[in-house]
């Protein structure tokens, strides 16, 4: 109760990430966060009511009826009563980062206050995202997920880990080629050499989905788990990858889970789960992000394009900060 609602609301600025549960639309996640924040903000200390000056007649005891005196009284205006005025905050602008479709889960970036202006800059950074994708062999459905309409059933006894990894390597190789064409860098330059040697080559404008890293982390037939680093993807595209792996292995596969474990520099550790979508946790998350230096990002070479950085610095805002996992194994 010590801080007023307005000052708390003014301090809600920046980017943070939440963990979107599977089966919930991203809009509901955004709305839930907004409603929780609004509810808590409105329960904080509200500004005092205006004081109205009123002249009230006072009848003194000893005097006759006709003689009246007026006294000056300060009364709080009823028009500013919380029941008349209604809640102070009815709307918070909560922006969203890269979307997740209904069935997928994972790190989902939200923006508050001037964080909304940083969102397009985050897009323009074209950072990679990490996914954990689970699937199993033996089935094919029309939407590549296990919830879809069954199209085909196949055997999968012939699939071994070796065969799976071979296909995975082939897919990664073909995407490596695409990455080089879309990165738009002259390969006969020192810059290209340095970027490529550090594994930081990536397209800086829109491109078709590109997988920069793909590996199989778990295989126990018929189930398998893949770890994917990619750019410009959709969750449907990742499911299609699983489907295509199944076809390449002369079988079929469907995808059961698509889980985003990293979005740019937002990792799983600092994303808030469903029960933590409250004011205190969001404040902590925003503060934690701010305290981390920008240095790590610059070091890893993942800063936004030069123009973007200058604009950010000119505005004196904290830009894209945080630690980046060494996730660029695919390109090195």
């Amino acid at each position: 109760m010590s801080r007023s609602a307005r000052s708390v609301a003014r301090a809600l600025q920046g980017l943070f990430s939440v963990y979107k549960p599977p089966g919930v639309h991203w809009k509901r996640v955004r709305d839930a966060v907004e409603t929780n924040l609004l509810q808590e903000l409105n329960s904080l200390k509200q500004p005092d009511a205006r004081q109205l000056i009123r002249f009230l007649p006072v009848h003194a005891d000893g005097e006759s009826e006709t003689e009246t005196n007026l006294t000056v009284v300060k009364l709080p205006a009823l028009a500013d009563h919380p029941l008349v005025k209604g809640p102070e905050f009815v709307h918070l602008k909560v922006g969203t980062g890269h979307r997740l479709d209904v069935m997928s889960s994972g790190v989902f970036v939200l923006a508050l206050g001037h964080g909304n202006k940083q969102l397009p800059e985050l897009y323009n950074c074209h950072l990679t995202k990490d996914y954990t994708v689970k699937g199993f062999f033996g089935k094919a459905t029309d939407d590549f997920s296990d919830m879809g309409r069954l199209v085909e059933k196949t055997t999968y006894d012939h699939i071994t880990r070796d065969k799976l990894e071979r296909i995975v390597a082939v897919i990664q190789g073909s995407h490596q080629k695409a990455l080089l064409t879309y990165s738009g860098i002259d390969f006969k330059t020192q810059e290209a050499y340095e970027l490529a040697s550090r594994g930081l080559l990536r397209p800086m404008q829109n491109s078709p989905p590109i997988i920069t890293g793909l590996r199989c982390v778990h295989f126990s037939p018929p189930n398998f788990t893949l770890e994917i680093q990619c750019l410009h993807e959709t969750q449907k595209y990742l499911r299609r990858i699983v489907h295509e792996i199944g076809l390449e292995l002369k079988s079929t596969a469907v995808c059961t889970h698509v889980r985003r474990t990293r979005d740019g520099f937002f990792t799983l550790q600092d994303s808030l789960i469903r029960t933590r979508w409250d004011l205190q946790s969001v404040q902590d998350a925003l503060r934690g992000r701010g305290s981390k230096g920008k240095a790590t990002l610059l070091e890893s070479g993942l800063e936004p394009p030069a123009g973007e950085t200058d604009r950010l610095q000119a505005r004196g805002q904290r830009t894209t900060t945080g630690t980046l996992r060494t996730a660029q194994t695919g390109t090195s």
């Binding site: 963990y19 549960p21 599977p22 089966g23 919930v24 109205l52 007649p57 006709t66 003689e67 009246t68 005196n69 007026l70 205006a77 009823l78 028009a79 009563h81 029941l83 008349v84 005025k85 209604g86 809640p87 889960s105 889980r259 799983l268 994303s271 789960i273 469903r274 029960t275 933590r276």
Partner: protein, 415 residues
């Protein structure tokens, strides 16, 4: 509740509130009967206001004939007119245009009778004290905030705890509230409710839900209460029902009878049980019946519950009758087809229909991950369904899952 409210005010009028404020302390303003002070007051407060008052008198008569939703407050002619600022409802704008021109003429002849005081005339201090300077009210506004400081009724309602900010968003309600007089309309209604057993601190929430009870006649209300009494509801039950379902007393006796009959027949409960059910969740009586009928079909046909199982569950958790069909289906699908819980267990713990699917899902998966998902009561390490869904997270982690809260939170990030 919302559907009923819409039924009452099915006509979406302009969201504009046309000011019509009753000032009950008028007498304190004008104490000297037909003296110069009165005339001065009239002229001071502006010819516009008085002429509006006259216009509205005619207008209100017309309005009565075209019968708008709320009944207008009783009016008196001559100086007894109590409004300082009046405007007609937008609906009767045409009648007003017709009626206003003769009204103006009579008004001007009235002014001729009363000699206007000269602005240079000196007045005594006593008289000056009695001329009260009131802020000019806006003739039309989008919010009740402009009127609340001036209107006695509104300010008393606010002090009772009525949320005007919510009420003003509903069509016609704000105009209706402005026409009320606290001593005439509101007081006796509240006293009536108090006699019924509604607690004083509930008045605010009650009137916020159902402001229309203020326009209902006391005779009607009494009739409905005696109907409930004739159905052998005792005093506590009636008090509980009225305070939990504010719209109950706005329903006609026939309608209440139909609804009680519906639950009696549709669920096959006996009279005593029906009474108990309705007392536990009185909004069953005021809510729409169609969703209840649909839900019952879902429980019987889609889920395959027996009649006696259904009765048992409904008596335990009446809320499952008004829950969303979609939500209930999703929850039961998960419980029955994925967690493998038989109908018998669901019948024993109907609370699961109140729980969120996400909550059930993540707890079940966590228990499964720990190898503790054992919902069969005859085997060891049995976990009952109500403990699964109803305990808070901390208790669930420690007592049921035998793990820690950080573990559970880390697990939720792997789903």
């Amino acid at each position: 509740m919302a559907t009923f409210c819409h039924r009452i005010c099915h006509r979406w009028s302009l969201s504009r509130i046309t000011g019509l404020v009753l000032i009950s302390n008028y007498k304190s303003q004008v104490t000297v009967p037909v003296s110069a002070a009165t005339c001065r007051l009239l002229s001071w407060s502006g010819a516009r206001v008085t002429s509006l008052a006259h216009q509205s008198l005619c207008g209100l008569k017309n309005q009565r004939s075209c019968s708008s939703g709320a009944d207008p407050a009783p009016q008196k002619g001559g100086l007894g007119v109590r409004e300082t600022s009046l405007l007609l409802n937008a609906n009767c704008g045409r009648e007003k245009a017709v009626a206003s021109s003769p009204a103006k003429e009579t008004f001007f002849t009235d002014l001729d009778v009363i000699p206007l005081p000269s602005p240079f005339e000196e007045i005594l201090d006593e008289e000056a004290v009695q001329i009260e300077g009131r802020e000019v009210l806006p003739p039309a506004s989008f919010t009740l905030r402009d009127y609340v400081d001036q209107s006695d009724t509104l300010s008393k309602l606010v002090l009772l705890g009525v949320d005007l900010s919510k009420l003003e968003q509903r069509p016609n309600v704000a105009n209706m509230l402005l026409r009320l007089d606290f001593d005439k309309n509101v007081k006796e209604c509240l006293l009536f409710l108090k006699d019924l057993g509604v607690e004083e601190h509930q008045f605010g929430a009650f009137l916020t839900k159902n402001p229309f009870i203020l326009t209902e006649s006391l005779g009607n209300l009494q009739k409905r209460v005696s109907y409930l009494q004739s159905k052998k509801f005792n005093k506590e039950a009636i008090a509980r029902m009225v305070s939990k379902a504010p719209y109950l007393l706005n329903f006609s006796v026939e309608r209440l009878d139909n609804r009680l009959d519906f639950y009696h027949k549709e669920l096959g409960l006996n009279v005593q049980k029906t009474r108990e059910l309705v007392t536990r969740l009185p909004s069953l009586l005021t809510g729409s019946l169609e969703p209840v009928r649909e839900n019952l079909k879902v429980y019987r046909i889609e889920f395959g519950f027996q009649e006696n199982e259904l009765q048992h569950m409904v008596m335990k958790v009446p809320k499952m009758l008004v829950a969303s069909k979609k939500k209930v289906t999703v929850v039961f699908d998960y419980l029955h087809n994925i967690m493998g819980i038989p109908h018998l267990l669901v019948t024993k713990f109907p609370q699961v229909f109140n729980a969120k699917l996400l909550r059930i899902k993540e707890r079940h998966l966590f228990l499964e991950h720990l190898g503790r998902a054992q919902y069969d009561p005859v085997q060891p390490n049995y976990i009952s369904l109500d403990k699964l869904v109803a305990t808070p997270d901390e208790v669930f982690c420690v007592e049921i899952a035998k793990a820690t809260l950080p573990d559970f939170e880390a697990f939720q990030k792997t789903l």
